[in-house]
């Protein structure tokens, strides 16, 4: 097709919004001839994340799209060439480089420049602004030799610049703000005070109500002189006093501009010349310049739609914002300042932890109008959604900032899943909740990254990423609950279903399981899950199918930072003889291992090279040790207290019982790890009630507790049966453990398993104690097989040359250790070197 017949759209300015316009127009139609002029030397980059340039990102990392993209999409791109004149009569633009280009439609996306106030001395060396990559290079160079730096302006950008100076190593950084508070456009006085104390803790020096009269220095800045007569010696200054829309071209062309700058546009983003549009930070809409990227993107969408005779209009945008990078959470949303009688506010202030939160409610308390969050802005996205979607507030709106304090459904008002489908989640890319949930449900998008690829949600400022994640998980969970709880994309069965299938069909390898009941080639989710099922059925040697095991089970040791492994022999019940202690000491010294007493009452040796593992274990086995299965989803330790043997309160011999139980269940694989404790009396020194199963001595026998958990969400174990004798404890435990092994989902600890069980502990007790399902005889038989099949895995490996051979770092150089592994010394022992 002859290109000249297509209407020509010329875009002036290749910044964030100019780029986004091209992207949006191309997504809708290719029936245009697109020509772009950019004044900067490089293609559009992400100004929002500009500060990351100091954090190690390169200019290339920040590009919105590589230069190739423009070429691939047939865009004529003129970089480093500013347009200097628009001739509306002949519909042409003239560039500084001498190009004359005609247009059918013209889009002005010239952005803004940093506003530099008219202070005597601003032209001096060492004074910079914060807008382009070139500005950042200048700041970086100045910071290299500066000891004291200052930022003029305590707004959103000024604070970001101040943090950047700190990070660049400027020893002393000052923030000078003319107004009596920080971020005057976004937060109230109380919030500013809290923010100030937090920033001062970070090392910034804040000066409020301070007018700068002049900049001193002979050619190069050396001090700031203030209106009140005071002087601050500085080596550099970054000016961040606001932005000035770049309307000079438009002015020259006789387009209507605002009194204080900005190209006047209507709701269709048309300037006073209907063939010319203005978008982004140069556009003045409804008397307002929007200094944020999301409204700019929305304007780009409006123009793209206009060019295709669409009806989209721009009707204003919310100025809510969240400060990033500064190390302190700051956010404001909706109307942060609205006060009585138009609203009533709830304020939460915790000076100790530096948290200030204010929410403004409608006078009837039903709706959220806006607010300010300092120190903890986790609730920002949800609160913003609550304002924008006019959600009716829950009965205790204070919960929105205090967190729900228990009670069924008290947090239901603040759940992303309760938002209406049209709620805008990613405002940069205009992606709604409905679109995100549909992508999960219909296109099987299950990760944030996948979502970014699918509909660009989260690719702009990134503020919505946590919500996108919640929506994905929420949708998946809703599906899982109502649809099917399958292992992964390769097996359309739950773990419990597959357990039964493999048992009935006598299947003993992963490959046969995959061929008979699965599809594809498996993955890191189903391989270990099937491995765990097979182990739960037959308790075969785990390393016979080592490539389906997680790395810890494959190498029978826990992999650590840097790629070394830990060695943990079993010390049943926490008992160890002096002789064994000496053996451990000798072996650890020989192989240069770091030793530590673990939280599980045994000794861990860290920092072993993979190729040393078989030799170390050979020596340990010769000293009578066996594997501690610290690497497996299997029984870890059974802690004990000294009990009646030594303790004046001890009722029964807790050590002997712990050792007996540990030896009974050692090596058995389960959906997740199992931990236990046996205490000699109710003082509970072995913490039995924090374990997957725990036993506590009573006057009449033992109390058996199950499904406790430490970890991230601690939960006490619950009493399964009281005052029972040792034999009954063992019988109930046999049943309980096998029932768990057969029915729990992969990687689900007993506590979570019980929490999900309909009927809870009462149901479980009925199954285990009263045999309500009539399966107890089976359970006892099945676990007896697993117990009988126990062997020390490490002994098998040590004795088997074929298996031993697999413990090398380099297959073609078995003697060579991984040269990238580095250790250093700490308190006389070795540790992994930081990198």
């Amino acid at each position: 097709m002859a290109a000249q017949q297509l209407p020509t759209v010329v875009v002036i300015g290749n910044g964030m919004v100019g780029y986004k316009f091209c992207e949006k127009l191309l997504a809708k139609s290719t029936a245009f001839n697109l020509v772009v002029f950019g004044e900067e030397p490089r293609v559009a980059y992400d100004r929002v994340h500009l500060s990351e340039y100091f954090g190690g990102k390169t200019a290339d990392d920040l590009l919105m799209a590589p230069q190739q993209w423009y070429h691939d999409h047939g865009i004529a791109l003129h970089l480093g060439d500013a347009v200097q004149e628009i001739d509306r009569a002949s519909q042409t633009v003239h560039s500084r480089g001498g190009l004359v280009q005609s247009y059918d439609y013209l889009v002005l996306a010239t952005g803004s420049s940093a506003f530099v106030p008219d202070i005597p001395g601003v032209e001096k060396q060492g004074v910079a602004v914060y807008r382009t990559i070139e500005d950042l290079e200048e700041i970086k160079a100045a910071a290299a030799t500066a000891r004291v730096g200052a930022v003029l302006g305590g707004g959103l950008l000024g604070l970001e610049a101040a943090k950047a100076l700190l990070d660049l190593g400027v020893a002393e950084t000052h923030v000078i703000e003319f107004a009596p508070r920080l971020m005057p456009r976004q937060i109230d006085a109380a919030g500013s005070a809290m923010l100030q104390s937090k920033l001062e803790a970070l090392g910034l020096k804040i000066h409020l109500s301070k007018a700068t009269a002049s900049i001193g220095g002979n050619g190069r800045i050396d001090a700031l002189h203030f209106g009140d007569g005071s002087i601050l010696p500085v080596d550099m200054l970054v000016i961040s006093a606001g932005i000035r829309p770049r309307d000079e071209l438009a002015r020259l062309a006789g387009l209507e501009v605002g009194l204080r700058g900005g190209i006047t546009v209507n709701d269709q983003m048309q300037t006073s010349d209907p063939r010319i549009f203005a978008i982004g930070e140069c556009a003045l809409h409804g008397g307002m310049i929007y200094g944020l990227v999301a409204p700019g993107y929305d304007m780009a969408e409006v123009v793209a739609s206009q060019l295709l005779q669409g009806a989209r209009a721009f009707t204003g945008f919310d100025m809510s914002s969240k400060l990033k990078l500064i190390g302190v959470d700051v956010a404001s949303f909706g109307d942060p300042f609205i006060a009585e009688p138009h609203s009533r506010s709830i304020v939460f202030e915790d000076a100790h932890s530096g948290i200030y939160k204010r929410i403004n409610l409608s006078p009837d308390g039903k709706y959220l109008l806006g607010g300010v969050l300092i120190g903890d802005a986790e609730a920002y996205s949800m609160l913003l959604q609550t304002v924008n979607n006019k959600l009716v507030l829950p009965p205790h709106p204070e919960d929105l900032i205090l967190g729900a304090r228990g009670g069924e459904g008290s947090d239901s008002g603040a759940n992303v899943l309760n938002l209406p489908d049209e709620a805008l989640i990613c405002s940069c890319e205009a992606v709604t909740k409905g679109a995100i949930c549909a992508a999960v449900a219909e296109l099987s998008v299950t990760t944030v990254d996948g979502m970014k690829k699918c509909n660009k949600a989260g690719t702009g400022c990134g503020g919505c990423v946590p919500m996108v994640k919640d929506l994905i998980n929420g949708t998946l969970m809703a599906q899982g609950a109502y649809i099917k709880n399958v292992l992964c994309e390769h097996f359309d069965y739950s773990r419990q279903e597959l357990f039964d299938l493999l048992k009935i069909n006598d299947i003993r390898t992963y490959d046969t399981a995959l061929n008979r009941f699965g599809s594809g080639d498996g993955c890191e989710t189903c391989k270990p899950a099937v491995g765990s099922i097979l182990a739960g059925l037959w308790n075969d040697l785990i390393v016979k199918q080592n490539v389906i095991q997680d790395t810890n089970d494959r190498y029978l040791a826990n992999i650590q930072k840097g790629g070394s492994y830990s060695v943990m022999p079993r010390m049943a019940g926490g008992e160890v003889s002096p002789r064994q202690l000496m053996a451990i000491g000798r072996i650890a010294e020989k192989y240069n291992l770091y030793t530590k007493i673990t939280g599980g009452q045994r000794i861990d040796m860290f920092g072993a090279h993979v190729s040393d593992l078989p030799d170390i274990w050979e020596e340990l086995i010769n000293e009578g040790f066996e594997s501690g299965h610290a690497y497996g989803k299997s029984l870890r330790t059974i802690k004990s207290c000294v009990g009646s043997t030594w303790c004046r309160y001890g009722l029964h011999d807790s050590v002997t019982f712990a050792i007996e139980l540990e030896n009974r269940y050692k090596g058995i694989r389960s959906p997740h790890k199992l931990k236990s404790g046996v205490s000699g009396c109710v003082r509970e020194c072995a913490e039995a009630q924090a374990k997957d199963f725990g036993v506590i001595a009573t006057e009449k026998g033992w109390n058996l507790y199950v499904c406790g958990n430490g970890g991230a969400k601690p939960q006490h174990a619950q009493l399964l049966a009281g005052d029972i004798d040792q034999e009954t404890v063992v019988r109930y435990l046999d049943r309980f453990l096998m029932f768990y092994i057969k029915t729990a989902d992969p990687l689900t600890r007993t506590a979570v398993w019980l929490n999900k069980m309909d009927g809870g502990i009462a149901y479980l007790r009925n199954v285990i104690v009263n045999d309500s399902l009539g399966i107890c005889a089976d359970l006892e038989g099945e676990i007896a097989l697993l117990i009988k099949n126990y062997f020390c895995e490490w002994k098998e490996v040590v004795d088997n040359p074929e298996l031993r051979k697999q413990f090398t770092h380099f297959v073609n150089a078995p003697k060579v250790k991984d040269p990238t592994m580095k250790f250093e010394t700490m308190r006389g022992q070795k540790k992994v070197a930081e990198w």
Binding site: D521, C523, V547, I548, V811
Partner: protein
């Protein structure tokens, strides 16, 4: 990409050195290369051994498998389960950069890596 420059085929190990449907690491000209014997598909792959996520020398110890309808072969790092395409080296689930892949060929019971 590799096809453009002529590669030198370097013998690195025997087929039996790499477990079926698993991987192992080889030292090739001072570099650590992860070699995978995708026995289930009768395919061989090689990538860098370094996982770009936290710079761990570990990919050879990862589990292999496939992703999606097209059964794209992949490896999961044993450390934090980042997964990478064995065909292109692209990271399949995060912002980590892609890993280097190498051509592999098997002749008799010798495994060769194509070195550019």
């Amino acid at each position: 990409m590799e096809a453009a420059t002529a590669v030198t085929w370097l013998p690195v190990c025997k087929t039996t050195d790499i477990p079926a449907d698993g991987g192992a690491c080889a030292l090739v000209k001072g570099e650590q290369v992860a070699i995978f014997n995708f026995a289930r598909r009768g395919e061989w792959y090689a990538t860098q051994n370094l996982c770009p996520h936290k710079q761990q020398m570990a990919l050879a110890r990862g589990m292999i498998g496939s992703a999606g309808e097209a059964c794209e072969p992949k490896v999961a790092c044993p450390f934090h389960k980042r997964t990478f395409s064995l065909l292109t080296g692209a990271c399949l689930n995060g912002d980590e950069c892609a890993i280097q892949t190498y051509p592999v060929k098997v002749e008799g019971d010798d495994v060769y890596i194509g070195w550019a």
